[in-house]
């Protein structure tokens, strides 16, 4: 499958439910969907299109948060990134895709602790990278988090 074949299969299946389809090059494409569609879309891409889950990456867009789910189709070297926007920054939630692939287990834990996004249905959202005594409600990869300056006079 070339990138146009993949995008056609996605648009045929989902139609208007894909908010935006951006074909950046013959190797890369970005697709916008509503957060509620993620399990369905990720499941279709992973199982039916046989793509590999690379990783998810969250971004703090100041007025909202977004998560990109990257999938690659290795036979043709294509990476499709599925974008979801979470507008409620005080209580950002999205369904877990660990039912689609266990490969999402750790990254959901990571995004949960670093961005404060809750993954509904993921039973294991314990800390992965931050120390156990990290203060609650402080999300270091949000733009509002400023790295404290180290005072050189203190040891």
């Amino acid at each position: 499958m070339k990138i146009d074949d993949i995008l056609k299969r996605l648009t045929d299946r989902y139609g208007d439910r894909l908010l935006k389809v951006e074909r950046k090059s013959h190797k890369r494409a970005y697709i916008d969907i509503y957060p509620k569609e993620i399990v369905d879309v990720a499941g279709y891409i992973f199982r039916e299109l046989g793509m590999r889950f690379n990783i998810a990456s969250a971004v703090d867009e100041l007025e909202r948060l977004e998560i990109l789910y990257h999938f690659s189709y290795d036979p043709s070297g294509i990476i499709i990134s599925v974008r979801t926007l979470l507008n409620d920054k005080d209580n950002p939630r999205i369904d877990t895709i660990t039912g689609v692939t266990p490969a999402a287990w750790w990254i959901e834990r990571e995004i949960h602790e670093l961005f404060g996004i809750h993954f509904d249905g993921n039973e294991d959202l314990r800390q992965l990278l931050l120390p156990d005594d990290w203060p609650k409600g402080v999300y270091p990869l949000r733009k509002s988090f400023v790295v404290p300056k180290r005072d050189s006079r203190k040891s």
């Binding site: 890369r28 990783i55 990456s57 971004v59 990257h70 690659s72 290795d74 750790w106």
Partner: protein, 396 residues
């Protein structure tokens, strides 16, 4: 059932381990029934740091994610930036990137082979591997100026050229290395004891490898035929002749076979590069990075390394996501360690390449987490068992 279960804590600090991580093995007798892992002891917030640095600086930061992969992360990073606005890279620079990538693969696989030998108690392999790895580090020093943390890569090219007069030296060293590698390959892959110890141990099925999206040698040893160098071509891999090594078994032995045979391919790739490398500039000197987002993927020694960078037109990234290959390979321990024997746990964890394990202490707990047996009790039980065995065989 919980009364039969013991917890074996491993880590996070132990002289054997290079990096801190905490493993909690839950065992019933010798059988591992559950595993939990705690990482993050080395979390330095590099993604956050990178947001505060310019594109030129962030390459030096990602280089320090890992000393062993200090060519892979920078290449993935610069490729992500180049993907944002399609920056051209001169031919010669692509060749040099490919050479450093393959040198890194060889020295990393040699390092792993040594550690794997060490973990199964075969220290000769450990000594040999690390000794024969030295010439590769010396070649790396000739090419980049450093044994590790090469400071070689930049957006649009590389920072340092390979001198013509160095090429004969590199080829001679590589020849010597291949002879030693050939000997080592025979010593490891033809050894019946290693076969007996590693075959059928820690099997990761092809379905599980796909399901967990495993990458690199871990995936290829389970017949999941993916390799970024072939599938998402970068550098000059698509112009060279080389093979992707796969195995069907998915056990620890298959992972060793994949890594050992890959080193021969890497050496062949380096020779072809040195042979075909054209003269010319090594840097396209890009000026501005346009707003946008880009993805860089490369095949690090442990598998696909993934960098995502978002830029708003300023000199530093809005977001820089790094995903190292072990992140995907690590969770496969749920498939490979659970159900196996506790004595295999060490080598199975080591087989994905980052992990070491050494039993620090043991304590038997019941369902209420109450200690049932103390160290003195264990020694007494052990002595009693020895006495029973002696009696049975009439030694006493």
């Amino acid at each position: 059932m919980s009364s039969n279960r013991s917890t074996i804590p491993i880590g996070p600090y132990h002289p054997l381990q290079e990096e801190p991580e905490f493993w909690k093995l839950i065992v019933e007798g010798e059988k591992v029934v559950d595993v939990d892992v705690r990482i993050g002891y080395n979390h330095r917030g590099i993604e956050k740091l990178s947001e505060a640095k310019s594109f030129d600086q962030s390459i030096f930061i990602v280089e320090r994610i890992c000393g062993i992969c200090s060519s892979s992360h920078p290449i993935a990073c610069v490729q992500a930036v180049e993907d944002i606005c399609n920056i051209e890279v001169p031919e010669r620079a692509l060749y040099i990137r490919t050479i450093t990538q393959e040198l890194e693969r060889i020295h990393s696989h040699m390092l792993w082979l040594g550690l794997a030998g060490h973990f199964i108690g075969y220290n000769t392999v450990f000594m040999w591997s690390w000794k024969y790895r030295e010439p590769i580090c010396e070649i790396m020093e000739t090419v980049t100026g450093n044994r590790q943390n090469y400071a070689m890569h930049k957006v649009g090219g590389v920072r340092r050229d390979i001198e013509k007069e160095h090429i004969p030296y590199i080829l001679t060293k590589l020849d010597e290395f291949l002879k030693q590698l050939d000997m080592l390959k025979g010593a490891v892959l033809d050894d019946p004891v290693i076969h007996a110890r590693l075959k059928g141990v820690g099997v990761l099925s092809r379905e599980a490898a796909i399901n967990y999206s495993a990458v690199g040698p871990v995936a290829r040893a389970s017949d999941f035929d993916i390799d970024v160098r072939r599938d998402h071509p970068y550098g000059v891999y698509s112009r060279l002749k080389w093979n992707v090594i796969t195995q069907k078994e998915g056990d620890v032995f298959a992972k060793a076979v994949v890594r050992i045979l890959e080193m021969f391919e890497s050496a062949s790739i380096i020779r072809q590069c040195l042979d075909k490398m054209p003269d010319g500039p090594i840097d396209s000197r890009p000026k501005d990075i346009e707003p946008g987002e880009g993805i860089g993927v490369i095949e690090a020694p442990r598998g696909e390394c993934f960098h995502y960078i978002k830029c708003d037109g300023t000199n530093s990234p809005v977001r820089h996501k790094v995903r190292a290959p072990t992140y995907m390979n690590f969770p496969t321990f749920r498939e490979t360690v659970i159900g196996g024997s506790v004595s295999d746990a060490t080598i199975i964890m080591a087989a994905i390449d980052p992990c070491y394990c050494c039993t620090e202490r043991m304590m038997i707990v019941d369902g209420d987490n109450k200690e049932l047996l103390k160290a003195g009790d264990l020694i007494r039980l052990s002595q009693e068992k020895t006495r029973r065995i002696k009696e049975r065989f009439g030694v006493i």
